[in-house]
Symmetry: D2
Subunit: 365 residues, 4 copies
């Protein structure tokens, strides 16, 4: 114990000799010092540090979900870690305000010295995307080059290795598929849910038909939209249709995992489902914040570079804007909302199942 | 003076009897009280209050820019007011976090009672968009109905009246067109700027050609992009081309206003141009924050409703996502960045002009 | 069902006729319109709306904790509601940025018309403080008047009634006192905890004594601080001492409730304790955000008014600064940290108890 | 030009080999890996990177204010740089949310390995405080040691050197003292201001006396407060009294600088005073954000450590709370608000002076 106590010092512990000695301005090297290049370097280094932390947390969550049986007590820890990631992401979005204090003209003072480096060349960011579950084939290609082309062979190998293994998406999917409450004794969730949906749609239809305060045209329009809505529900009752949509890329999450996610969302107040519900919510938070970051990043690039080619040789704005939409990982979890029905219509679980979902200890006993 | 002092009281001044008595839960009316409906009402009321303040500030800024001669000392005030709008918008975006504490299932508890009301029916928000300069013809139509169809005749009349008058965009455009420094004695800004651009492009071209560390393919690719960039510059030297782009909707800002905005951006450090520069920056901030709000709003709608039709009968997510891109007002100001050149290449202004742009009082005199 | 569908409209539902017609500028009444008075009014109205929502949520959480037996499934809901309150508070702090766009000079344009109204006269804010558990006797008096003096008789009666009933603090205290896991068969939490603490203190002592890299003076100093730390631990082992500290106002939470809160913090990973742990965390969040709000509010007042008397006749800065420190409600929960010991030192719970704290359903069975 | 283009690569440019290789977990070294130690290290490294950027910006602003004659066009740049500092500070405050995801128990997993390192040992933070103008004698001592005791001899020398030179506070003070508009031809600012103040106080007095709706007691109370307010004003008219207050530490800013700051605040709409006004505002922003950071930091420490001694051997909470109040730098600028008078009472400047404060170029000419 003595050893460690004897040596630790703030600067040394944080290795500030490295951290604070890693800002070498290209513009200074070429004797045209540009004040804002310091910001440019530091802001990117800060991003990389946070990426490292995010990957550290994400990996630990993935480790929790790798075993066949996920320990109940660990789900709470997983949620905390995801929550940390979300809080970091929030800062990653907000600190774009700092970058934007560098005006386009300030950037031009040193932009030429940076070519052909590019903001898109963060290996850790790619690693993060792949770990979350972004598939090579769903990726919007930025240039004609493969997305990993800018990385070293070693880095490319790591990316391939991660892709070959489990992603957060894949682990969550398998875990959802294993959730054992879809059929319990006489309770068949899907059958009960279908009845409730049919009833709900009928009521809405009647309401629209009976509403004498709207025009025939509006009535027609709204009935049409209800039909559209109904289509979403039908997917849930037709495994083949679902699989077809997965095949053509419209959906990503497997049929069984989708049904489990739906059950968790609907019966989230049962004690054993509370943490799984919160866990799924956090995945959505993270996806949403990633989208926010991409949107905000795109705007910043538009502002700083206009439609001009970025460092690295690309019109960054258009590319980034597209990824915001297309690089979502957990879209299917977001979209569970489409399938929800009001609590008042929710099929009651049998008492015996409810008891299973509660704690051993009971205040009432 | 005595009169007013005699009557004022916190509650009465703020008319809290009205403000705090305006939350009537539909779900309670139908005897199925849904806890979260209170949040739903209050959050919308808060938005409307902030919209009122934004419109109040925006109108005051427009008043400043209406006269032929905009008083120098008022530009500072205009900037402060726009800055306030931006800070309010920041909160409007951030407080979506509050709305998202209402889960989709919580929303379903009272959603049915709200039909066919819709979040898109905020008259003040339409008023704000129109005042900023969003034109009817540039608006993405949400349904087959005209965008103003949900409003009363009186409200529609007001919208038409605003559209018929000056918008913030229009006022700024005219003000920019009047900026008198484009030609000054022997200094012709555009001629000098063209020389600088040509020189810069040539240098970049040579750098790429001479770079022996990149492949022929990459070289080809990057020269191609430089050519693309060059095209943007050419628009500035060709008024007809610019006008053509305005005609077909690619650009909105007039030729002369664009050149003035460019001059302000390039020579922003001259005292008389500092405030105009900051003013243009704030307009961009506001546009950017409006885009952030739309993006964030779209995500929230996806999360709460999925692809289900929204209150009001629409799949809000797709619509909102599109408006984020297309309903920008000051895109042309953002895009000035494309036309900037490094300070090192900036044509020097003649001393006599610089003096004109400085204060009467001089430390040196 | 038809009835409600037939009538609802965005404006009417939100009662915008009231909301947007509640801004009457005093400065306009006296024909010296001050632009920023609109902001002043609206910002206060927004605060009052959010206060209403917070009280709505807080009351619902208190209702959950009022029964002798708190339903497990409702704790999750309570946490969500507290989380919503925290998110609203975050916005309440952040939107002070908006108020600060009103400079002191702008405020002076209409300050005179407001006398003697005061920002401290929010009835809802008092109600909130009292509901949380702020006691009259712990309140810093602002002027020589009683704190409720500015309110109407009816309002004062309501405050008294709330004070006479259960506060959030009181309900949490009682709930903690009822937590049944402090003694379970042969496991006596306090005995085990004491052993662990003694061991830990001894180790730290030895480490300091054995550290030959620090000066004798430093050693003396650090041993002194360790002794100080130890004193905090001792309170936990001495109910009388604890009660004495409660009596003299140093502590607020009862002895038994404190021990339970400690147990929850230490064994929070056991499934049945997870939600209680998160619940206590949220109470701390709320307390912390209330403190942040007071600090930020104080700064804003200093900036706007300086040390000048505020509207309402007080030097607001000093008063507000003091309340930030002294009006904490859940300080004792914060301070549980002082009593924590590392997980590595944590006494192991017997398996039979762990099983009680887990779910009926088991993956392993 | 070829040389630089040939070598640059994202990773190398950012020196990620250093940045991402500087996280060595002590807990891993001792084979008890604690997951959250990574966060602890990274968050501190991020702070240090931002501190470096802040110092970089602050130094550049100080360079602008060092010459006898501060170039008009550079004040705008100084404001932008201070604005960047403020935006960074905002993030420094907000990202405490990230740290707080590390619960006290998580921290205890590795806290022992850190002793006696301390969060207060950031050299850059001390450097920042000293550069801003925090004087050794105004510093609250944390332990019995001198504040610089934890630093190396070399670091201490640097701190002394900075202290011996110009601080931001000192430079601003001198610059304010040189502002030449206090007396201009027949216009004597202080004389005019005094008349206005006297008139204003008289009016307020009469209003209170004449108010028949308040009790005699309340009247007495409010007249008393007005007398207090009046005292603040009197300081401005009595240079000796002011100097006395500076001598005993109540005030810091010199008499002449204070009067200039007052003039700038009152006549900020005159073009030449606009930028100086915004500059002073930014200094207040920075001071305020520093206070926010200290407050928030104190709360975080309370939450994580309770009243337990911190790493480094101190009860951080109490210390940090005190510094929030006492380590303000630009308190005197905040407090200018106390001396403001309404625009309606503002003495009119002579036209000849107004013209001096405007631009050479005039739209009207």
């Amino acid at each position: 114990m003595d050893k460690e106590l004897s040596s630790i010092h703030y600067d040394k512990y944080l290795q500030l000799n490295k951290i604070l000695d890693a800002q070498k301005l290209r513009s200074e090297e070429f004797e045209k010092p540009a004040h804002d290049e310091m910001l440019f370097i530091i802001v990117h280094q800060v991003y990389e540090l946070w990426f490292k932390e995010i990957i550290h947390d994400l990996n630990s969550v993935m480790d929790i979900f790798k075993p066949e049986i996920v320990e109940e007590k660990k789900i709470g820890i997983a949620i905390s870690r995801l929550d940390r990631i979300a809080k970091i992401q929030k800062i990653l979005v907000d600190q774009i305000d700092i970058i934007e204090t560098m005006t386009p003209l300030d950037f031009l003072d040193f932009r030429n010295y940076l070519l052909p480096a590019s903001g898109f060349q963060s290996f850790q960011f790619r690693q993060l995307e792949v770990s979350l579950g972004l598939k090579r084939e769903n990726r919007i290609s930025y240039t004609q080059c493969a997305y990993s082309g800018v990385f070293s062979q070693e880095e490319q190998d790591i990316l391939h290795q991660i892709e070959a293994g489990d992603s957060m998406f894949g682990l969550v999917e398998k875990w959802l598929e294993r959730i054992p409450f879809l059929k319990f004794e006489k309770f068949d969730f899907l059958t009960e849910y279908r009845k409730a949906v049919d009833k709900m749609i009928t009521i809405e239809q009647e309401a629209i038909n009976g509403a004498d305060y709207i025009t025939a045209q509006e009535k027609h329009f709204r009935l049409g939209m209800l039909t559209e809505t109904n289509k979403y529900f039908q997917t849930v009752f037709d495994e083949d249709l679902h699989n077809q949509k997965v095949a053509n890329g419209e959906l990503k999450l497997s049929y069984k995992a989708t049904i489990s996610a739906l059950l968790i969302n609907l019966y989230r107040d049962e004690p054993i489902l509370r943490q799984p519900f919160l866990f799924l919510q956090k995945l959505i938070d993270i996806d949403e914040l990633l989208t926010s970051w991409r949107n905000r990043h795109a705007q910043m690039v538009l502002r700083t570079l206009g439609q001009k080619i970025g460092t690295g040789g690309s019109s960054g704005f258009d590319y980034l804007k597209k990824t915001a939409d297309k690089h979502r990982i957990f879209y299917d979890l977001h979209n569970i909302s489409t399938l929800l029905i009001p609590r008042s219509e929710l099929p009651e679980m049998p008492e015996s199942l409810k008891k299973k979902l509660n704690f051993n200890f009971s205040n009432k006993s």
